[in-house]
Subunit: 133 residues, 2 copies
DNA sequence: TCGAACCTTCACACCCATGTCAAGGTCAAG
DNA sequence: CTTGACCTTGACATGGGTGTGAAGGTTCGA
Protein backbone atom coordinates (compact mmCIF):
# COMPACT_ATOMS: atom_id res chain seq x y z
CA UNK A 1 0.00 0.00 0.00
CA UNK A 2 1.26 3.49 -0.81
CA UNK A 3 1.17 6.57 1.35
CA UNK A 4 -2.16 7.87 0.07
CA UNK A 5 -3.84 4.54 0.85
CA UNK A 6 -2.42 4.43 4.33
CA UNK A 7 -3.49 8.01 4.80
CA UNK A 8 -7.06 7.23 3.78
CA UNK A 9 -7.20 4.11 5.90
CA UNK A 10 -5.96 5.88 9.02
CA UNK A 11 -7.18 9.43 8.61
CA UNK A 12 -3.62 10.64 9.11
CA UNK A 13 -2.15 13.02 6.55
CA UNK A 14 0.74 11.89 4.34
CA UNK A 15 2.74 14.70 5.88
CA UNK A 16 2.33 13.13 9.30
CA UNK A 17 3.05 9.63 8.07
CA UNK A 18 6.40 10.84 6.73
CA UNK A 19 6.98 12.59 10.01
CA UNK A 20 6.30 9.43 12.02
CA UNK A 21 8.75 7.63 9.81
CA UNK A 22 11.35 10.31 10.41
CA UNK A 23 10.76 9.84 14.14
CA UNK A 24 11.30 6.13 13.81
CA UNK A 25 7.73 5.11 14.62
CA UNK A 26 7.02 3.37 11.34
CA UNK A 27 9.13 2.15 8.43
CA UNK A 28 8.40 1.78 4.76
CA UNK A 29 9.97 -0.17 1.99
CA UNK A 30 10.69 1.74 -1.20
CA UNK A 31 9.46 0.82 -4.65
CA UNK A 32 11.76 1.17 -7.65
CA UNK A 33 10.35 4.60 -8.37
CA UNK A 34 11.10 5.82 -4.85
CA UNK A 35 7.52 5.64 -3.57
CA UNK A 36 6.97 4.34 -0.06
CA UNK A 37 5.34 0.94 0.25
CA UNK A 38 3.61 0.08 3.52
CA UNK A 39 2.64 -3.25 5.05
CA UNK A 40 -0.91 -3.81 6.21
CA UNK A 41 -0.03 -4.09 9.87
CA UNK A 42 0.95 -0.44 9.82
CA UNK A 43 -2.70 0.59 9.70
CA UNK A 44 -3.11 -0.66 13.26
CA UNK A 45 0.22 0.73 14.25
CA UNK A 46 -0.64 4.20 13.02
CA UNK A 47 -3.94 4.07 14.89
CA UNK A 48 -2.04 3.17 18.02
CA UNK A 49 0.39 6.02 17.46
CA UNK A 50 -2.49 8.47 17.03
CA UNK A 51 -4.10 7.29 20.21
CA UNK A 52 -0.95 7.72 22.21
CA UNK A 53 -0.21 11.10 20.66
CA UNK A 54 -3.72 12.27 21.47
CA UNK A 55 -3.20 11.08 25.01
CA UNK A 56 -0.22 13.39 25.31
CA UNK A 57 2.62 10.90 24.86
CA UNK A 58 5.43 12.42 22.77
CA UNK A 59 6.87 10.60 19.78
CA UNK A 60 10.16 9.94 21.52
CA UNK A 61 8.43 7.95 24.25
CA UNK A 62 6.13 6.25 21.80
CA UNK A 63 9.17 5.12 19.87
CA UNK A 64 10.61 3.61 23.01
CA UNK A 65 7.58 1.70 24.17
CA UNK A 66 6.07 0.76 20.83
CA UNK A 67 8.22 -2.35 20.35
CA UNK A 68 6.99 -3.64 23.71
CA UNK A 69 3.34 -2.99 23.04
CA UNK A 70 2.31 -5.62 20.59
CA UNK A 71 2.81 -8.85 22.41
CA UNK A 72 4.91 -9.82 25.35
CA UNK A 73 6.87 -13.09 25.37
CA UNK A 74 8.51 -12.08 22.11
CA UNK A 75 12.24 -11.34 22.36
CA UNK A 76 12.29 -10.60 26.05
CA UNK A 77 15.66 -12.29 26.44
CA UNK A 78 17.75 -9.15 26.79
CA UNK A 79 16.36 -7.94 30.13
CA UNK A 80 18.02 -4.55 29.92
CA UNK A 81 17.48 -2.86 33.30
CA UNK A 82 17.55 0.57 31.64
CA UNK A 83 14.70 -0.46 29.43
CA UNK A 84 12.79 -1.95 32.33
CA UNK A 85 13.12 1.23 34.36
CA UNK A 86 11.82 3.29 31.46
CA UNK A 87 8.87 0.99 30.97
CA UNK A 88 8.00 1.12 34.65
CA UNK A 89 8.18 4.89 34.57
CA UNK A 90 5.87 5.10 31.59
CA UNK A 91 3.50 2.58 33.10
CA UNK A 92 3.22 4.72 36.22
CA UNK A 93 2.75 7.92 34.26
CA UNK A 94 -0.05 6.30 32.32
CA UNK A 95 -1.70 5.12 35.50
CA UNK A 96 -1.52 8.65 36.80
CA UNK A 97 -2.99 10.12 33.62
CA UNK A 98 -5.79 7.56 33.73
CA UNK A 99 -6.65 8.54 37.28
CA UNK A 100 -6.74 12.24 36.42
CA UNK A 101 -8.87 11.67 33.34
CA UNK A 102 -11.31 9.41 35.15
CA UNK A 103 -11.72 11.87 37.94
CA UNK A 104 -12.40 14.76 35.61
CA UNK A 105 -14.60 12.80 33.30
CA UNK A 106 -16.71 11.72 36.23
CA UNK A 107 -17.05 15.32 37.32
CA UNK A 108 -18.19 16.16 33.80
CA UNK A 109 -20.70 13.34 33.89
CA UNK A 110 -22.12 14.62 37.14
CA UNK A 111 -22.34 18.13 35.78
CA UNK A 112 -24.09 17.04 32.61
CA UNK A 113 -26.51 15.01 34.67
CA UNK A 114 -27.22 18.02 36.82
CA UNK A 115 -27.89 20.13 33.75
CA UNK A 116 -30.28 17.54 32.40
CA UNK A 117 -32.12 17.29 35.67
CA UNK A 118 -32.37 21.08 35.85
CA UNK A 119 -33.73 21.35 32.30
CA UNK A 120 -35.66 18.28 31.25
CA UNK A 121 -37.45 18.21 27.86
CA UNK A 122 -34.84 20.39 26.13
CA UNK A 123 -31.32 19.29 25.09
CA UNK A 124 -30.85 15.78 23.76
CA UNK A 125 -29.31 16.67 20.38
CA UNK A 126 -29.94 13.48 18.35
CA UNK A 127 -28.13 10.17 18.51
CA UNK A 128 -26.08 10.53 21.63
CA UNK A 129 -26.17 8.54 24.80
CA UNK A 130 -25.65 9.82 28.30
CA UNK A 131 -24.63 6.36 29.41
CA UNK A 132 -21.19 5.90 30.92
CA UNK A 133 -20.29 3.36 28.20
CA UNK B 1 -0.45 34.25 48.87
CA UNK B 2 1.90 35.68 46.26
CA UNK B 3 3.13 34.10 43.07
CA UNK B 4 6.29 32.63 44.55
CA UNK B 5 4.30 30.88 47.26
CA UNK B 6 1.83 29.46 44.81
CA UNK B 7 4.71 28.35 42.66
CA UNK B 8 6.36 26.53 45.56
CA UNK B 9 3.12 24.94 46.65
CA UNK B 10 2.28 23.64 43.20
CA UNK B 11 5.64 23.05 41.57
CA UNK B 12 4.55 25.24 38.69
CA UNK B 13 6.84 28.08 37.61
CA UNK B 14 5.71 31.70 38.05
CA UNK B 15 6.04 32.05 34.32
CA UNK B 16 3.43 29.36 33.83
CA UNK B 17 1.13 30.73 36.51
CA UNK B 18 1.06 34.05 34.67
CA UNK B 19 0.44 32.18 31.46
CA UNK B 20 -2.49 30.27 32.96
CA UNK B 21 -3.91 33.57 34.10
CA UNK B 22 -3.50 35.00 30.62
CA UNK B 23 -5.38 31.97 29.29
CA UNK B 24 -8.17 32.58 31.75
CA UNK B 25 -7.58 29.47 33.83
CA UNK B 26 -6.91 31.27 37.10
CA UNK B 27 -7.38 34.81 38.37
CA UNK B 28 -5.52 36.88 40.91
CA UNK B 29 -6.33 39.95 42.90
CA UNK B 30 -3.74 42.68 42.88
CA UNK B 31 -2.10 44.23 45.90
CA UNK B 32 -1.50 47.96 46.05
CA UNK B 33 2.03 47.47 44.78
CA UNK B 34 0.81 45.54 41.74
CA UNK B 35 1.79 42.09 43.03
CA UNK B 36 -0.60 39.23 42.38
CA UNK B 37 -2.43 37.86 45.39
CA UNK B 38 -3.82 34.33 45.17
CA UNK B 39 -6.53 32.58 47.15
CA UNK B 40 -5.80 29.24 48.75
CA UNK B 41 -8.21 27.31 46.61
CA UNK B 42 -6.01 28.02 43.63
CA UNK B 43 -3.46 25.51 44.83
CA UNK B 44 -5.90 22.72 44.05
CA UNK B 45 -6.98 24.38 40.90
CA UNK B 46 -3.44 24.64 39.58
CA UNK B 47 -2.86 20.99 40.40
CA UNK B 48 -5.96 20.14 38.41
CA UNK B 49 -4.78 22.25 35.50
CA UNK B 50 -1.42 20.50 35.52
CA UNK B 51 -3.06 17.11 35.52
CA UNK B 52 -5.25 17.97 32.57
CA UNK B 53 -2.39 19.57 30.68
CA UNK B 54 -0.24 16.49 31.25
CA UNK B 55 -3.10 14.37 29.99
CA UNK B 56 -2.98 16.25 26.71
CA UNK B 57 -5.91 18.63 27.19
CA UNK B 58 -5.12 22.08 25.76
CA UNK B 59 -5.65 25.22 27.83
CA UNK B 60 -8.57 26.35 25.70
CA UNK B 61 -10.54 23.22 26.54
CA UNK B 62 -9.48 23.30 30.14
CA UNK B 63 -10.78 26.81 30.38
CA UNK B 64 -14.12 25.68 29.05
CA UNK B 65 -14.65 22.72 31.33
CA UNK B 66 -12.96 23.98 34.47
CA UNK B 67 -16.01 25.87 35.76
CA UNK B 68 -18.02 22.64 35.58
CA UNK B 69 -15.47 20.52 37.34
CA UNK B 70 -15.68 21.53 40.93
CA UNK B 71 -19.17 20.66 41.99
CA UNK B 72 -22.34 20.13 40.09
CA UNK B 73 -25.67 21.54 41.31
CA UNK B 74 -24.11 24.99 41.51
CA UNK B 75 -25.43 27.47 38.96
CA UNK B 76 -26.77 24.91 36.52
CA UNK B 77 -29.79 27.00 35.78
CA UNK B 78 -28.71 28.26 32.38
CA UNK B 79 -28.83 24.92 30.53
CA UNK B 80 -27.05 26.23 27.46
CA UNK B 81 -27.24 23.49 24.82
CA UNK B 82 -23.97 24.66 23.28
CA UNK B 83 -22.26 24.16 26.57
CA UNK B 84 -23.85 20.78 27.07
CA UNK B 85 -22.73 19.60 23.64
CA UNK B 86 -19.16 20.67 24.36
CA UNK B 87 -19.17 18.91 27.71
CA UNK B 88 -20.50 15.73 26.16
CA UNK B 89 -17.82 15.89 23.50
CA UNK B 90 -15.08 16.32 26.05
CA UNK B 91 -16.51 13.58 28.22
CA UNK B 92 -16.38 11.21 25.27
CA UNK B 93 -12.87 12.23 24.30
CA UNK B 94 -11.73 11.58 27.83
CA UNK B 95 -13.37 8.19 27.83
CA UNK B 96 -11.55 7.40 24.62
CA UNK B 97 -8.21 8.56 25.99
CA UNK B 98 -8.75 6.50 29.10
CA UNK B 99 -9.41 3.41 27.02
CA UNK B 100 -6.27 3.95 24.95
CA UNK B 101 -4.12 4.55 27.98
CA UNK B 102 -5.47 1.54 29.85
CA UNK B 103 -4.92 -0.69 26.90
CA UNK B 104 -1.34 0.43 26.42
CA UNK B 105 -0.53 0.45 30.09
CA UNK B 106 -1.76 -3.10 30.37
CA UNK B 107 0.44 -4.11 27.46
CA UNK B 108 3.35 -2.49 29.26
CA UNK B 109 2.50 -4.37 32.43
CA UNK B 110 2.46 -7.64 30.56
CA UNK B 111 5.76 -6.88 28.92
CA UNK B 112 7.43 -5.94 32.19
CA UNK B 113 6.10 -9.10 33.76
CA UNK B 114 7.50 -11.11 30.90
CA UNK B 115 10.89 -9.46 31.34
CA UNK B 116 10.87 -10.27 35.02
CA UNK B 117 9.93 -13.86 34.42
CA UNK B 118 12.67 -14.18 31.82
CA UNK B 119 15.31 -12.71 34.12
CA UNK B 120 14.56 -13.35 37.78
CA UNK B 121 17.08 -12.30 40.46
CA UNK B 122 18.28 -9.26 38.52
CA UNK B 123 16.39 -5.98 38.05
CA UNK B 124 14.31 -4.68 40.93
CA UNK B 125 15.90 -1.23 41.28
CA UNK B 126 15.02 -0.33 44.88
CA UNK B 127 11.75 0.97 46.25
CA UNK B 128 9.43 0.29 43.39
CA UNK B 129 6.42 -1.93 43.21
CA UNK B 130 5.24 -3.92 40.24
CA UNK B 131 1.72 -3.84 41.60
CA UNK B 132 -0.98 -2.29 39.46
CA UNK B 133 -1.76 0.20 42.23
C1' DT C 1 1.02 12.77 -26.13
C1' DC C 2 -1.14 15.12 -22.65
C1' DG C 3 -3.28 15.87 -18.14
C1' DA C 4 -4.65 14.32 -13.70
C1' DA C 5 -3.48 12.19 -9.73
C1' DC C 6 -0.18 10.48 -7.34
C1' DC C 7 4.51 10.50 -5.36
C1' DT C 8 9.30 12.68 -3.87
C1' DT C 9 12.17 16.20 -0.88
C1' DC C 10 12.74 20.55 1.15
C1' DA C 11 11.51 24.60 3.37
C1' DC C 12 8.81 27.93 5.52
C1' DA C 13 5.26 28.88 8.95
C1' DC C 14 2.04 28.15 12.74
C1' DC C 15 0.33 27.15 17.48
C1' DC C 16 1.20 25.79 21.93
C1' DA C 17 3.51 25.12 26.31
C1' DT C 18 7.56 26.52 28.19
C1' DG C 19 12.19 28.71 29.34
C1' DT C 20 14.98 32.68 29.87
C1' DC C 21 16.48 37.21 30.02
C1' DA C 22 16.25 42.25 30.44
C1' DA C 23 14.80 46.51 32.71
C1' DG C 24 12.63 48.01 36.27
C1' DG C 25 9.60 48.46 40.89
C1' DT C 26 8.83 47.05 46.12
C1' DC C 27 10.18 45.93 50.50
C1' DA C 28 12.43 44.30 54.57
C1' DA C 29 16.72 43.56 56.97
C1' DG C 30 21.31 44.98 57.84
C1' DC D 1 20.89 53.80 52.35
C1' DT D 2 22.03 49.75 50.25
C1' DT D 3 21.51 45.00 49.22
C1' DG D 4 18.99 40.98 48.13
C1' DA D 5 14.86 38.65 47.40
C1' DC D 6 10.88 39.22 45.51
C1' DC D 7 7.64 41.14 42.11
C1' DT D 8 6.21 43.49 37.40
C1' DT D 9 5.91 43.45 32.00
C1' DG D 10 7.77 42.41 27.67
C1' DA D 11 10.34 40.09 24.41
C1' DC D 12 12.85 36.55 22.29
C1' DA D 13 13.81 31.48 21.85
C1' DT D 14 12.77 26.52 21.49
C1' DG D 15 10.72 22.04 20.73
C1' DG D 16 6.98 19.35 19.23
C1' DG D 17 3.18 18.37 16.15
C1' DT D 18 1.13 20.02 12.10
C1' DG D 19 -0.22 22.57 7.67
C1' DT D 20 1.14 24.24 3.18
C1' DG D 21 3.49 25.17 -0.83
C1' DA D 22 7.18 24.83 -4.30
C1' DA D 23 9.67 22.15 -7.74
C1' DG D 24 9.97 18.14 -9.65
C1' DG D 25 9.35 12.78 -10.90
C1' DT D 26 5.98 8.66 -12.05
C1' DT D 27 1.99 6.44 -13.79
C1' DC D 28 -2.19 5.83 -16.04
C1' DG D 29 -6.06 6.64 -18.82
C1' DA D 30 -8.17 9.60 -22.66
Amino acid sequence: MRIGDLSHRTGVSPRMLRYYEEQGLITARRLDNGFREYDDYLVDRVHKIRGLLDAGIPTRIIGNILPCLHQAEIVVEDADPQLRAMLVEQRDKMTERIAVLEQNRDALIRYIDAMDRAAPESNRSSGETTAVA
